[in-house]
């Protein structure tokens, strides 16, 4: 039989070997870190098209982006299997709680299987709207400037319905502080 059947972690239980993965991993990608690109400008028409988008919530309710046009909207592309995405969700939750009274919305678009998202939200509930973007969400995020199809990816729409800010990779609090001012 071909080599394909032998596990790459030869000689030991693979599960045990992988326990060390976190330590080695940093070295794994270190030489490639410069590859993390800056966001690109959105494709022509992508900002207008965004307001035609419709998604379903995890409960199957319809979500239409048009409902938030004219107000500050932070769109966050995430997935349950993307560690930095999961790490930044509590910060986004706090941001939304602090600003919803001023008309802000945070929209989490899950580039993921609906079943995985539902299971995730059972243990780590979020109160801002979540839309099931599926794997097609990657295409949408690319049109909005995520040329590499990276996760997480966040976009801030201002009151004029155009993109004010984009961030490839994990947001930090200083990003959110700046974004809050930019769309105030």
């Amino acid at each position: 039989m071909s080599q394909a059947s032998s596990s790459p972690t030869s000689g030991r239980s693979s599960r045990r070997l992988l326990l060390g993965a976190g330590l080695v991993a940093a070295a794994g990608g270190a030489g490639l870190a410069w590859w993390r690109h800056r966001p690109a400008p959105p494709l022509p028409g992508a900002q207008l098209d965004f307001w035609q988008e419709a998604f379903e919530t995890p409960d199957g309710q319809p979500l239409r982006t048009i409902a938030w046009q004219g107000k500050p909207l932070l769109v966050n592309f995430w997935a349950t299997w993307c560690p930095p995405c999961v790490e930044e969700l509590p910060m986004l939750e706090a941001f939304w709680q602090a600003r919803r009274a001023q008309g802000w919305t945070v929209l989490g678009l899950a580039v993921d299987q609906p079943s995985s998202v539902k299971r995730f939200l059972q243990t780590r509930p979020l109160s801002f709207p979540i839309g099931m973007a599926g794997l097609g969400g990657t295409e949408l995020s690319k049109r909005l400037g995520n040329s590499m199809g990276a996760l997480p990816f966040s976009v801030l729409f201002g009151k004029d319905a155009t993109i004010l800010k984009q961030k490839l990779g994990k947001l930090d609090q200083s990003d959110l502080d700046q974004w809050a001012q930019a769309a105030a």
Partner: protein
């Protein structure tokens, strides 16, 4: 087939199922367990796999099919996520003798060998880099990561073998038993549609 080869194969099969060892490691361990010298001729992978199927049917018939289905569903998710890199599923999850201890083994055929690694970085995924004997007798880089398998509700290993686009030639040639050694998303869907 000699009785000795069958003994080794049976012991190796048990080690694969109970401890999640790969075939090569299980054969070596079986020699030690049976008190045989390290130069004893080893049974073929085909023989060990046949014994694995027998062991599963005898001892794991109530659990293994569901575990295999969970791993195949999870492999499918990864194949969708990595669709740009022509993912092909191989190993026990493809061949059908995987249990919850098995890892998911994917071969990627990339235009640019660094592109898959860059993609993982862009998704914030942490992985380990290793090298294994690969197709056509050449060593191949393997990116290994943990992934939560929803159907098993535990982490499994996912191994991505990073091949060049031209390595795809011959990658689907049948093995000695006439089986395809790996399959793409369409082939996996075909398998799942048949109840696999």
């Amino acid at each position: 087939m000699s009785d000795l080869a069958l003994d080794i194969a049976q012991t190796a099969a048990r080690l694969v199922v109970e401890q999640g060892l790969n075939l090569g490691a299980a054969k070596q361990r079986a020699l030690r367990e049976l008190g045989l010298g390290s130069r004893t001729p080893l049974p073929t992978n085909e023989l060990v796999e046949a014994q694995i199927h027998e062991h599963l049917a005898l001892f794991c018939a109530d659990t293994q099919p569901a575990e295999l289905a969970a791993l195949r569903a999870h492999a499918r998710e990864w194949m969708l996520r990595l669709a740009d890199f022509r993912p092909h599923l191989g190993g026990p999850v493809w061949h059908g003798w995987a249990t919850r201890l098995s890892d998911i083994d994917l071969a990627l055929f990339c235009d640019d060998p660094k592109s898959a690694e860059i993609h993982l970085l862009n998704l914030g995924l942490r992985y380990e880099v290793g090298t294994q004997p690969g197709l056509h007798g050449h060593p191949v880089d393997v990116l290994s990561l943990h992934s939560h398998c929803p159907g098993l509700d535990e982490d499994v290993g996912v191994h991505l073998r990073i091949y060049d686009l031209r390595d795809q030639r011959g990658a689907l040639l049948p093995d000695a038993q006439g089986r395809r050694p790996r399959g793409d998303l369409a082939a996996l869907d075909h398998l799942l549609a048949q109840g696999g």
